[in-house]
């Protein structure tokens, strides 16, 4: 505590507090514009200058810390007049400025025209830059405080905004915002104090009084950003970042600008029943656009009865195993829990799965096997404590943008960032080491790292001795064949680089590994993750802050949906169906017996449907007709079903094949808890009422359950969550009330006073003997290798602006304007060889299907490799993909198949 004098008053300053902050705390408001909490102080606007005794000129209060006995004169004539003049100068420079400048100017009695420049420094008639779909830049309102620049560069690490010349905001090389590399995270808009950068929707201009603010969550990825919806007239008009544990106020383009899908004209508002005699068309030709040809409107009672009668008929005619359900990782924990309970009790089997099967099933399989838990060991923001960060097979700048911003922040602070990926992604620019390896050689590369760690004696002997099983002769022998020098040519990474990286990782004070679908979506996905687990266990890089294993979870609630039991072989909290004691316990809780065979997985369910052994389904918020591999097969299988019930908010590709469609609620229309990639449980809160007759998902599940003979009367998500706590020890300490109060609690959380555990495995692993286990892994190639007929490699994935199958984001105005059409990335040299330029049309064919899409150059790709996002219904990449499965995780090989690429037409 420092005592100093503020306007003849002796006051105190907290350690590290600026004069501005201390003055504020003592009731002295000083105007300030370039200062914003969380951004590096710049002191350039000079609106907060004060007089410090003994100093020749005035000093910016935001950049100075009081020292003992300092005499600060903030309210004296000299300082006040300087501050007012500064505000008057800014009014002259930025005649269009509003917001904070206007507010401070009024408070200081600044005269608008006192220093008015004629002509104005920025031509007032010059049109604002409206070239970007989401953001408008109006230079006539810009005061060059550089808050946007710091938000863009220091905070989000997107590096688009610069300060050009002798004071003007530039984008990249000085191009229009719409032509720049802007990724539309909108942090600049949030940072701008004057309205120079605004949302194009104009929402920020609506009178504040008419706007309701609802604290909620982002509905998209697993990062779990907290946000505030701005709501007016039952519509979201804008989104602000909220200071959540995962996002610290940051958002990405989807979270900030992707909110209007809920009011898209295509929203389903009445229950629909397939018209009698209208056959299902597995080619989906034209059916998605106009539902009236295929469906008729129905009342809720009719639709619910129709749904349940259909299932009951199937069960009666074809037995207990003929029904299945796909739940959704987009729904809440409560919805996931009730959904799996409905399938298990109402359908009488365990045929319940969801899209985790398509993303991290292999990761979970390996983690459960090695560590006894499928969840992450450390939160993303532990990068702050990491010396070495490995990102392998993940493109977080696109798929987990806010997480990526923290990784880039850490790298720029000096952490070593090692990017291991066949594609040189955006993150590579911040990497200390880039290992651009040949696709499909993951195990060769990872075994080479293990080889160095084992034979260069880099293992953590104490840790291995105390906590690891499986480090035996067989494990070591297996590694002998994987010396870096032996695999370097195949892997495409110099042996020395492999050695350097192995040493860096093993000898780091703390090292953390992140991975994504690039690791998991292979027929050797489980093997890939086994290698990552071995890396962490052999070096002891787990169980401490800044270490560990973090599979970046995709969907906003894929962690929670898995925890809640949307898995055919697991009941809630990963308790195995095969275990009779577990079944007995749940039967006791739920008051009904459970089937004793584990259920089928996503791809197995569709195979069974194709084979005619599975006849009826309940699909809630999933879109397998877009997300599954080999779509011709998947769509045929769905079309063959006798009875398909789809509960969704849009007529998705899957709903187009339904017998009955139940109009549900979008994320912002319901309350519920969601568990992010960090194992943090957070509350989403309803901001809107569902449109038309659309209903809350929880209500629909409950209504169906009652018609199936289950006597359910939950009525609220809180009631469901309370039941979940009773059967899931991980959530035992998290009450609904606590969630409402704290907003975020990380599990495991065993009792009411347990703060939760962001970092787990500190003492032991949740295995039978408390020790982790490693396994030797042999290299196996992908299921389909390029050959003369299909000579290239196809990799599928996502892009920044669109979420998963695009059902939400393609219907969000800004997002679809930013990325409106399907494309395929190729190396520019390949593009040149095909005689094509940017946007030239390509034809892609595999043994399973073909499509055409526009080409885009990406020098980050290896040669003879095509990358395609799978969100575009008009050119669905999954028509091409290979349904071959990983034997343990049952995850399809989305990340590798053989493809023929040619110029179209």
């Amino acid at each position: 505590m420092t005592r100093f004098f503020l306007d003849q008053r002796e006051v105190d300053a907290q350690p590290g507090e600026s004069i501005l902050q201390a003055a504020q705390r003592h009731g002295v408001e000083l105007p300030h514009l370039c200062h914003k909490d969380g951004l590096q102080p710049e002191g350039n606007c000079r609106a907060c200058v004060v007089e410090i005794e003994g100093e020749r000129v005035l000093a910016p209060a935001c950049c100075r810390t009081p020292h003992a006995g300092m005499v600060v004169n903030a309210q004296g004539e000299r300082a006040q007049s300087a501050r007012r003049s500064v505000l008057e100068l800014l009014l002259a420079e930025a005649p269009a400025a509003g917001g904070e400048l206007a507010r401070w100017a009024r408070a200081a009695d600044a005269r608008v025209a006192h220093f008015a420049l004629s002509p104005a420094p920025v031509d007032p008639d010059a049109m604002p830059d409206r070239s970007h779909p989401a953001i408008v830049f109006n230079a006539a309102a810009c005061i060059l405080c550089t808050r946007c620049l710091r938000a863009c560069r220091d905070e989000q690490a997107n590096d688009v905004i610069g300060l050009g010349g002798r004071g003007r905001i530039i984008f990249d090389a000085g191009v229009a915002l719409g032509a720049s590399s802007c990724v539309a995270c909108g942090e600049c808009v949030a940072a701008c104090p004057t309205g120079a950068l605004t949302e194009k929707s104009g929402a920020t201009l609506a009178p504040a009084a008419d706007i309701e603010r609802i604290a909620s969550l982002c509905p998209y990825c697993g990062v779990g950003c907290q946000l505030t919806y701005r709501v007016a007239a039952n519509a979201i008009v804008g989104v602000d970042g909220r200071n959540g544990p995962a996002n610290a106020g940051r958002l990405c383009v989807k979270g900030r600008f992707g909110y209007d899908y809920a009011r898209h004209p295509g929203r389903l508002t009445t229950p629909l029943i397939r018209r009698a005699g209208v056959a299902k068309d597995a080619t989906l030709a034209g059916t998605v656009d106009d539902w009236r040809q295929q469906f008729r409107e129905a009342s809720w009672d009719e639709a619910l009865d129709f749904a349940v009668c259909g299932w009951q008929a199937v069960r009666r005619d074809f037995g207990d195993q003929a029904l299945a359900g796909f739940g959704s990782a987009k729904g809440s924990n409560e919805e996931a829990y009730l959904f799996q309970k409905l399938i298990r009790l109402g359908f009488g089997n365990h045929n319940v799965d969801h899209c985790t099967r398509l993303c991290h099933a292999s990761s979970v399989a390996a983690l459960l096997e090695g560590l006894g838990s499928g969840a992450v060991s450390n939160p993303v923001r532990d990068v702050d404590h990491a010396d070495v960060i490995i990102v392998i097979g993940a493109n977080p700048t696109v798929n987990h943008p806010v997480a990526a911003s923290f990784m880039k922040n850490a790298a720029r602070r000096g952490a070593r960032l090692i990017v291991i990926d066949p594609r040189m992604t955006d993150l590579a620019r911040d990497a200390s080491h880039i290992l651009q390896f040949t696709p499909d050689t993951d195990v060769l590369l990872l075994n080479a790292l293990l080889h160095v760690i084992v034979f260069d004696k880099l293992t953590n002997e104490t840790f291995v001795k105390e906590r690891v099983d499986g480090f035996d002769a067989a494990f070591i022998d297996n590694l002998r064949a994987y010396a870096p020098e032996a695999v370097a040519a195949t892997v495409g990474v110099p042996a020395q680089t492999l050695r350097t990286v192995a040493h860096l990782y093993a000898s780091a004070g703390s090292a953390i590994i992140f991975w994504g679908m690039g690791v998991s979506q292979h027929t050797h996905g489980t093997d890939n993750v086994r290698c990552l687990i071995a890396l962490a266990l052999l070096t002891g890089q787990i169980g401490r802050p800044g270490t560990g294993l973090h599979p970046l979870r995709g969907q906003n609630n894929v962690q929670g949906a898995s925890d809640a039991g949307l898995i055919p072989m697991m009941l809630p909290d990963y308790q195995r169906v095969a275990d009779a004691a577990v079944r007995a316990r749940f039967a006791g809780h739920w008051g009904a017996p459970l089937a004793d065979v584990p259920g089928l997985t996503v791809t197995e369910i569709l195979d069974a449907a194709a084979a005619g052994t599975l006849r009826g389904m309940y699909v809630l918020g999933e879109n397998p007709a877009m997300s599954d591999p080999d779509l011709n097969h998947a769509r045929m299988a769905l079309a063959r079903l006798d009875h398909l019930v789809v509960q969704d908010i849009f007529l998705t590709e899957t709903a187009a094949l339904a017998d009955v469609i139940l109009p549900a609620s979008s994320f912002a229309e319901k309350d519920g808890s969601f568990t992010n990639t960090d194992r943090t449980v957070q509350l989403g809160r309803a901001a809107l009422a569902p449109p038309g007759e659309a209903r809350q998902d929880l209500q629909i599940i409950e209504a169906l359950a009652r018609r199936l003979g289950l006597d359910w009367h939950y009525g609220s998500p809180a009631a469901v969550f309370t039941e979940m706590r009773q059967v899931m020890s991980s959530l035992a300490g998290i009450s609904w009330q606590r969630l409402q109060q704290e907003g975020a609690v990380t599990y495991p959380c065993r009792h009411d006073d347990d703060p939760g555990e962001p970092v787990i495995f500190r003492e032991n692993f949740p295995t039978a003997n408390g020790r982790g286990r490693i396994f030797p892994v042999a290299f196996r190639p992908a299921a389909e290798i390029p050959d003369a007929d299909y000579p290239w490699v196809l990799i599928t994935g996502r892009l920044l602006e669109h979420w998963h199958t695009g059902s939400m984001t393609r219907r969000a105005r800004v997002l679809d304007a930013l990325e409106p059409e399907p494309y395929v990335n190729l190396h520019p040299d390949d593009l040149a060889e095909l005689g094509l330029g940017e946007r030239g049309m390509l034809r892609l064919s595999t043994r399973r299907g073909e499509l055409t899409a526009a080409a885009r150059a990406d020098a980050g790709l290896p040669r003879r490799t095509a990358f395609m996002p799978f969100c575009y219904g008009e050119a669905a990449a999954n028509l091409l993909t290979n349904p071959a499965l990983d034997p343990q995780g049952k995850i399809p090989e989305f990340k590798y198949c053989a493809v023929r690429v040619a110029a179209a037409g």
Binding site: G162, R166, G167, A173
Partner: protein, 542 residues
């Protein structure tokens, strides 16, 4: 936006770097010079490639490139500027000598091969008016002499005929440095001598040199030395004067400072306009490094057209390869300077006197001076005097004495009306105050300071308000744009000063906020000429 292979190859050829060689961040400005020199502008394609190779955001490369006036950024190759740039200086002395008319007459003379730019002071005020064709300066320029130079194809000057290393050493140069290294002098004795000599920072701030050395020496190692030869204050050309004649004096001074203060590395920041001196220094630094292989490395950095880089913290930013924006102080650069290390920053001339003071003894230097002042000052005199140029004269000499004794009196037909005692920023004094001792601390009472001792003399044929306007337009052009009072205040002042009758109330309010609230000396001193006119030449603006 990935650069193609051909562009990358071209970039590496221009930078004379192999594709695997590191491109250090702090050399960004050097790299931009390579591109600008080769292409006569900065093509976006090469900047994109440079950003990618340096792993820098394109915006960061462009914000640096666009800060400096000597770099031409163009959106596309079709908008490239003409290959030859003819710069006409329009600052104080040149303006008095018809620079505006010269630029006007030149404007229509050339085809697409040549462009005419009005530029601020190029540091040759004694030869006003001055034009620079490419990198070749032309003093007392006329349309005829400029056309002749353009026709000759000369775009640069050879290195000036300075005393080179061998001759300097033959005359005993560097003996003192060697004596220091041998321990024949102690560090404290050397620093004490600078105190006794009353040597002060001659870049303009006048900070006592010995005290500065002690301050930096007390900071933790590693410590650096940055030598400022950015000489951009209109009217100042003394550093060039000494550089062109005796470059090794300041270099020996620098090595002695490095020894006495314990400095690891030395950077020299030379303004881009001094191209011939750059050639000379490059050669002499190579020779010096060969002669003293164990001495600290000396790196020569080239400015790129930015007056603000005369501010020591802006210079440091520029040496680090960034926009030349002054830093907020505290921390002072003696604590946190170049690359975050404690830094001794000196104007070149300050170091120039160090060997001589130590050889001849502090009393020799301190013994000079008039009217109670101590030491010698290198006055850059320009304007309406018979013999403009650098005149080494006693500190404290009055303007009347200086003109009479050193400058051969006023120019023919001119009567003293007023003078700038310290370049554009030091304010303006009327003829009635020509008997004041000229030195640090003597002019404050009259709203002026001596700064770098750039004396611009004007006569009854000149207008104080026009010169003050010229100065304010210069500051508006050269403001780094960082802080509001300077960025906007200079522009608003320049606009108000166009009125036949000045709005004294507004100009005074502007002067106060600029002086009180600007980050650095540029903004703080920018209102001085305006205030001087209101105070000493009110008849011109009422």
């Amino acid at each position: 936006m990935t650069p193609d292979a051909a562009t990358r190859a071209r970039l590496h050829a221009l930078l004379e770097k192999s594709p695997t060689e590191a491109l250090p961040r702090d050399q960004l400005i050097e790299f931009l010079h390579r591109i600008q020199d080769a292409c006569a502008h900065l093509p976006t394609s090469l900047l994109t490639a440079l950003a990618a190779e340096m792993k820098l955001p394109l915006a960061e490369v462009v914000e640096v490139a666009s800060f400096y006036h000597h770099f031409d950024l163009v959106p596309g190759a079709d908008a490239a500027p003409p290959p030859t740039t003819l710069r006409v200086c329009t600052s104080l002395a040149c303006a008095m000598h018809g620079a505006e008319e010269l630029a006007e007459r030149l404007a229509g003379q050339f085809g697409p091969e040549v462009r005419v730019q009005r530029v601020p002071c190029v540091g040759r005020c004694a030869g006003a008016p001055v034009a620079v064709s490419g990198q070749k300066p032309l003093e007392r320029a006329s349309p005829a002499s400029i056309l002749a130079v353009l026709a000759s194809g000369q775009t640069t000057d050879p290195a000036p005929p300075a005393r080179r290393l061998a001759d300097y050493r033959a005359a005993g140069g560097y003996d003192l440095y060697k004596a220091c290294l041998r321990g024949e002098r102690s560090r404290s004795e050397v620093i004490d001598s600078l105190d006794h000599a009353s040597l002060r920072g001659l870049g303009g701030a006048g900070f006592p040199t010995g005290r500065k050395w002690r301050l930096v020496a007390a900071q933790p190692a590693p410590r650096h030395l940055a030598i400022n030869i950015d000489e951009g204050e209109p009217g100042t050309f003394k550093d060039r004067h000494y550089l062109e004649r005796e470059p090794h004096a300041f270099l020996e001074g620098a090595l002695i400072a490095a020894w006495a203060v314990g400095l690891e590395n030395i950077w020299i920041y030379l303004r881009d306009e001094y191209a011939a001196c750059r050639r000379l220094l490059t050669e002499e630094l190579a020779a010096l490094a060969a002669a003293f292989p164990a001495a600290p490395t000396i790196e020569l950095r080239r400015g790129a057209g930015a007056y603000i880089c005369g501010d020591e913290s802006a210079m440091i930013e520029s040496i680090e390869g960034k926009r030349g924006m002054p830093r907020l102080r505290p921390p002072y650069i003696a604590e946190v300077g170049l690359f975050g290390r404690p830094t001794l920053a000196h104007n070149m001339e300050t170091l120039h006197w160090v060997p001589e003071i130590l050889r001849r003894g502090p009393e020799w230097f301190a013994g000079q001076g008039r009217h109670g002042r101590q030491g010698l000052r290198s006055f850059s005199v320009s304007g309406r005097v018979a013999r403009p140029g650098v005149h080494l004269a006693p500190a404290g000499i009055t303007l009347n004495e200086l003109i009479a004794e050193y400058c051969g009196g006023m120019a023919h037909g001119h009567t003293l009306y007023g003078y700038f005692p310290g370049g554009a920023s030091g304010g303006i004094l009327p003829a009635s105050l020509a008997d004041l001792p000229l030195d640090f601390d003597t002019l404050q009472a009259h709203g002026c300071f001596i700064g770098s001792a750039a004396i611009v003399v004007f006569s009854q044929h000149d207008s104080a308000r026009r010169l003050a306007q010229n100065a304010m337009e210069f500051f508006a052009h050269e403001s780094c744009g960082q802080c509001t009072p300077c960025r906007v205040g200079t522009r608003v002042s320049a606009a108000l000063m166009q009125a036949p009758v000045w709005d004294a109330e507004r100009l005074d309010a502007l002067a106060r906020v600029m002086h009180d609230a600007s980050i650095c000396g540029l903004g703080q001193a920018a209102p001085n000429p305006t205030r001087s006119v209101l105070r000493h030449f009110p008849q011109e603006v009422e």
